[in-house]
Amino acid sequence: MEHLAHRLLFIPPLFLLLCSCSSPARYQIISEGSPEPEWESTEHRYVCLSPADAKNYPHLLALRTESDVLAYERRRTDGADPVEDVLFHLDRDDYPKASELLRRHEGVIPEYLRLLLDADLAYEEARNSVSTSHLIKQYQDAFDVQPCGISRAIIQLRIRQARYLR
């Protein structure tokens, strides 16, 4: 009986662990054909890939939850592709690493992605010190070169999130 009670004690932490693993990843890599994003969410950040990049990185588009990211991490090869590398570290919320990779591979990352991620990472890394008008200017540069029609909504959402940052 006591043994059973001990086992039962493990159930709540395990349940919590399972819940946290299946929670949605903060960054969602999408393309034009992806299901309609949840624009009202204050947590999600979206990155829309150009049609060509979406074809090259279908596995990144499939990462929806934190457990997807963990499963993908186990089978991927680190450093194999600069674009994949940056997006993967963004997906696992490792912003300093993503930022470092973005700077290191500046020349090979497509401009639309580089400008968007530059603004995103400035926002993620300097939450309390970066000014909203400076961020909006960065997003403006990114907006004008985005390949997706839904980028207007994505960037407007990001600006709203940035305005209410403290």
């Binding site: 008008s133 909006i136 997003y139 600006i159």
Partner: protein, 234 residues
């Protein structure tokens, strides 16, 4: 026991009488910049004629300080069930703005002309000249506070919710477009900006200042786009 009898009126007094002043100081603690994303369609190939800005006059359309006015309210002191509901109206003051709003009107208008205007924007000696005068900003920014204290002799339950928004801003301006001194149009334009409702138990009321600044930014955007759209018709 005596302290409970004092606590209830005190809570209601704080929630009711101290409301407008408390909300006002919360709103005044927040600052933000007027800024927006220029997302209108870019006109890359401009037509031959050039356009310059003659003048941008902005009247003193914003008060200095952000204020909150109580519109209505009541307290229902039923001893065991005590309810209150207050409605407020707030107004943004320019002290809450990190940038100069008068300069922002001009800068953002120039940016919009360069982006979506069909004529080439020039700083001086243009074929056409536009004068803009910003006459007024009207703002509705309601807040509502609803709460209750239920006193069950040996226990007290307290609850209060605050709703803020939507913040709506209407900016009106006159614009006169001239070619060789002759008026092409002289009309009033409006710009509307609106932000959503903030609510919830953990609502930080100072975020409503940000919402008012956002609504003002969006109304300036809408005004600029409306004027440029009219210019593009000629």
């Amino acid at each position: 026991m005596k302290s409970i009898w004092w606590t209830i009126p005190c809570m209601m007094l704080i929630a009711g009488c101290g409301g407008a002043a408390g909300l006002e100081s919360s709103l005044q603690s927040q600052h933000g910049s007027l800024a927006y994303l220029y997302d209108s369609e870019k006109v890359s190939v401009k037509q031959g004629e050039t356009l310059r800005i003659g003048s941008v006059v902005v009247d003193d359309v914003l008060p200095t300080m952000t204020s909150v006015r109580e519109e209505s309210g009541f307290v229902l002191p039923l001893l065991f069930v005590n309810i209150w509901k207050y409605e407020y109206q707030s107004r943004l003051g320019y002290s809450q703005l990190s940038n100069d709003y008068k300069a922002f009107f001009k800068e953002s208008f120039i940016e919009e002309l360069k982006r979506s205007g069909k004529f080439n924007y020039v700083d001086d000696h243009g074929d056409m000249e536009i004068d803009m005068k910003v006459k007024g900003i009207s703002m509705t920014a309601p807040m509502r506070k609803v709460g209750n204290v239920i006193f069950a002799v040996y226990a007290v339950a307290y609850s209060q919710s605050i709703w803020a928004g939507p913040a709506e801003v209407l900016v009106t301006a006159d614009a006169v477009l001239k070619r060789d001194g002759k008026e092409i149009f002289n009309q009033e334009f409006r710009g509307i900006g609106r932000t959503g409702v903030l609510q919830g138990r953990n609502l930080n009321i100072s975020d409503f200042t940000t919402a008012m600044i956002e609504a003002l930014s969006l109304s300036v955007k809408n005004l600029n786009e409306n004027i440029v759209r009219e210019i593009n018709k000629i």
